[in-house]
């Protein structure tokens, strides 16, 4: 990915209903999900399919601020809160055009 693309990336949490984008990365510093199991939000997001180059679409979004968002990725849909969605950096469709 070039520096120009990086500059265009935004957090997934900022997208509105109907928006499409391409995942750039999941940020490194994400909260722990479980203190005992030491699993992190970032690890799970990657497992669910939020990996570089994958297309995503915000299919539904709750009022008033898109919390949670329903995000479609690789044919599956997940409900993400603003805070989880903020960990996924995406390049909105059309941003590179």
């Amino acid at each position: 990915m070039s520096a120009a693309v990086t500059a265009l990336s935004v957090p997934l949490s900022s997208l509105r209903r109907g928006a499409r984008a391409v995942v750039q990365k999941v940020v490194a510093d994400t909260p722990l999900i479980d203190d005992v199991l030491r699993s992190t939000v970032g690890q799970r997001l990657v497992e669910l399919g939020f990996v570089c180059g994958v297309e995503i679409e915000v299919v539904e979004s709750m009022w008033p601020v898109g919390d949670p968002l329903a995000v479609r990725v690789r044919g599956s849909t997940f409900a993400l809160r603003q805070r989880e969605a903020a960990a996924v950096m995406v390049v909105p469709a059309g941003a590179t055009a």
Binding site: D34, G49, E60, M62, R74, G75, L80
Partner: protein, 632 residues
């Protein structure tokens, strides 16, 4: 260990798959009703095991593992799945063959788990489930090429169709049980080393997934227009909420109105049985035990079987259809305000059937704090065991009057359920505000595709509920009824006594003692007696009242039915006060026992019992005093 007892040819298989992949439907298809549900030792994760035989007569033991997205767990359920496939659970043999269930409609997600499991190096088979459904939506995949790319057999299954698992059964036939002697000698050679995959490994697997899928000529199934349209309505911030409210309202109306005629039927049957036994047996202690204790007691509980079935029917249908996670999505923000996760919706909804499965379902909430908050308020969801009490009191004190398209009784029932929910929200808010530190916990909830509920799984689920209910009726409730009958019958009244016999009995004495406590909230001594066995099971309160009143009847006509008796002898204020009491109903020992087991401490069950009792007493006191002031 039962290794030695089993014939060598028996095969032990474990089903592994991501949540919502149709794994449980496949388990039901394979094993039918030959299932056993228990817990893993030391934890409360459900262990579902079943077995079947193939045409050649070979026996297969099937273990249905909890759904897991990955072998790096975020929940206790996922941790169990990981530990079991790794053979790390004491007393659990690792399976001979892992059947990794892949959902054709969610291939990338499923395939990633397949790759992770494959790395373990155990014998495995991939069951490609739902490919029929996926094909209708434009899915393409060359199964042979996928098998070649993975290096393990890939077998298509249709879990919801008869014979849909036959190919899988045939595919398992060539496998032999693992040689445990050799394995034991070779253990520790690194094959089952600790491999919680880190972020980098996961990212790498995620790069392999599209490569393998491309090799197998994969084309992703499209999201149907119907599903998109359904989501647009059901997940809409306003329309979705209205639909959710309507769905819940419909469920409660149905519980009350559909169940009416089978309940009348059961009631008539129980009455006829009691009459027949009275006619056949001579008057005396045995006749009294059977008619007043056993038949009157059990009959008044069994009569609620239809309502409990209807409630479970709706919960299972909503769960199977994929609607419940959408409801959790809608409510997440709202529930977040009082310190709960949207995920808590599913355990809380199950608590409407019974708090015990609800509290156990809270295991799927990753954070311990969220989990405890959910557990603590689960008993405020009106469980089906309270339904008998509500049903009896509503029928006795609330007139059946149409209000618009609804019935006043249905509305009152709905209001009681709503009161429980509001109380739960208030309690959760107080806990969030004053008791726990807030830390952040994610939602990350999958919204599965909509599907028609599988009738077979529905039938198995309902059958299981009926079995549990009837075992309870036959076990705990029956024994309590006999004890209560004894307490209510002895000591016999002194000669020349004028009042009903029960007033001189142990139960009468106990009731009068407790009456001191309950008098300010309008309970008479009969209610006080009935609340005691209600400790073991809430619905017993009704049969206990049945027994207490049957025993206190001075003329034979009064023995017939409980309903007219309480309608004529209790004041409306007392009836309403008891209804308010049951919104909180602190006296369920099995719930407290499960809380103790789930939280592994006495602290939470004690806090729970204390706060529920205080709230119940307060609510009843206010209700009783207000009702007294308002009624003539």
């Amino acid at each position: 260990m039962d290794i030695a007892n089993r014939r060598l040819a028996d095969l032990r298989i474990a089903l592994v798959g991501v949540p919502n992949c149709g794994k449980t439907a496949l388990f039901n298809r394979l094993t039918g009703s030959r299932q056993k549900v228990a817990n893993y030792p030391g934890v409360t994760v459900e262990r579902k095991e079943g077995h079947f035989r193939d045409r050649a007569g070979r026996r297969y033991d099937v273990l249905d593992l909890p759904g897991a997205y990955s072998l790096s767990p975020t929940t206790l359920d996922e941790a169990i799945t990981r530990d079991l496939v790794l053979g790390r659970i004491a007393g659990e043999e690792p399976p001979d063959v892992i059947v990794c269930v892949a959902d054709a409609t969610h291939m990338p997600l499923s395939l990633r788990l397949v790759l992770e499991v494959q790395k373990l190096g155990h014998p495995m088979v991939v069951a490609l489930n739902r490919s029929d459904l996926a094909r209708k939506r434009g899915f393409r995949l060359d199964v042979a090429k996928l098998a070649a790319a993975l290096g393990v057999p890939v077998i298509e299954t249709v879990a919801i169709a008869p014979g849909g698992a036959d190919a899988l059964i045939a595919g398992l036939a060539p496998f032999a049980p693992r040689d445990r002697m050799i394995e034991a000698a070779a253990s520790g050679n690194g094959a089952t080393c600790d491999l919680a995959p880190d972020r980098e490994t996961t990212e790498h697997t995620q790069q392999v997934v599209p490569r393998i899928l491309a090799e197998a000529g994969y084309r992703e199934p499209l999201r149907t227009r119907a599903a998109a349209r359904a989501d647009a309505i059901l997940m809409h911030p306003v329309a979705g909420m209205l639909v959710l409210g309507a769905v819940l309202f419909l469920v409660f109306q149905a519980v009350f109105s559909w169940a009416e005629w089978p309940m009348d039927l059961i009631e008539a049957g129980v009455g006829a049985l009691g009459g027949w036994v009275s006619g056949v047996l001579p008057d005396g202690a045995l006749q009294s035990l059977l008619v007043d204790g056993v038949i009157a007691g059990l009959g008044s509980v069994i009569v609620f079987l239809p309502q409990i079935l209807i409630l479970f029917f709706f919960i299972l249908v909503l769960e199977d259809s994929g609607y419940l996670p959408r409801a959790a999505y809608l409510l997440d923000r709202l529930m977040g305000n009082v310190g709960l996760s949207g995920r808590a919706f599913i355990p809380l909804l199950s608590s409407f059937a019974c708090a015990i499965p609800g509290i156990m379902a809270a295991r799927t909430i990753p954070s311990m704090r969220d989990r405890i908050a959910t557990i603590m308020i689960a008993p405020l969801m009106t469980c089906s065991a309270r339904l008998p009490v509500y049903a009896l009191l509503i029928a006795a004190f609330i007139p059946s009057r149409p209000i618009g398209p609804f019935n006043l009784r249905g509305l009152v029932l709905f209001a009681l359920y709503a009161a429980g929910v509001l109380a739960a929200l208030a309690v959760a808010w107080v806990m969030k505000r004053f008791l726990t530190k807030r830390t952040y916990h994610p939602l990350m909830l999958e919204l599965p595709d909509y599907q028609w509920p599988d009738l077979r799984s529905l039938a198995i689920g309902l059958g299981e509920r009926v079995r549990i209910f009837l075992t309870r009726v036959g076990g705990i409730i029956l024994s309590l009824m006999i004890v209560l009958w004894f307490l209510a019958s002895y000591p016999a009244p002194p000669p020349g006594a004028t009042g009903p016999a029960i007033e001189y009995s142990f139960a009468g004495m106990l009731g009068r003692t407790l009456h001191v406590v309950f008098e300010p909230i309008g309970f008479n001594w009969q209610i006080a007696v009935a609340l005691v066995p209600g400790l073991a099971a809430r619905e017993v309160a009704v049969s206990a009242l049945g027994t207490v009143y049957a025993m206190s009847a001075t003329d034979a006509a009064l023995e017939k039915a409980l309903l007219p008796v309480i309608a004529s002898t209790w004041s409306v204020a007392t009836g309403l006060s008891l209804l308010a009491w049951y919104i909180f109903a602190p006296q369920c020992l099995s719930t407290l026992a499960v809380v103790k087991r789930e939280t592994r401490s006495w602290r939470y069950p004690l806090i729970m019992a204390g706060y529920l009792f205080a709230l119940a007493y307060l609510a009843s006191f206010v209700t009783y005093r207000v009702a007294l002031a308002l009624t003539p």
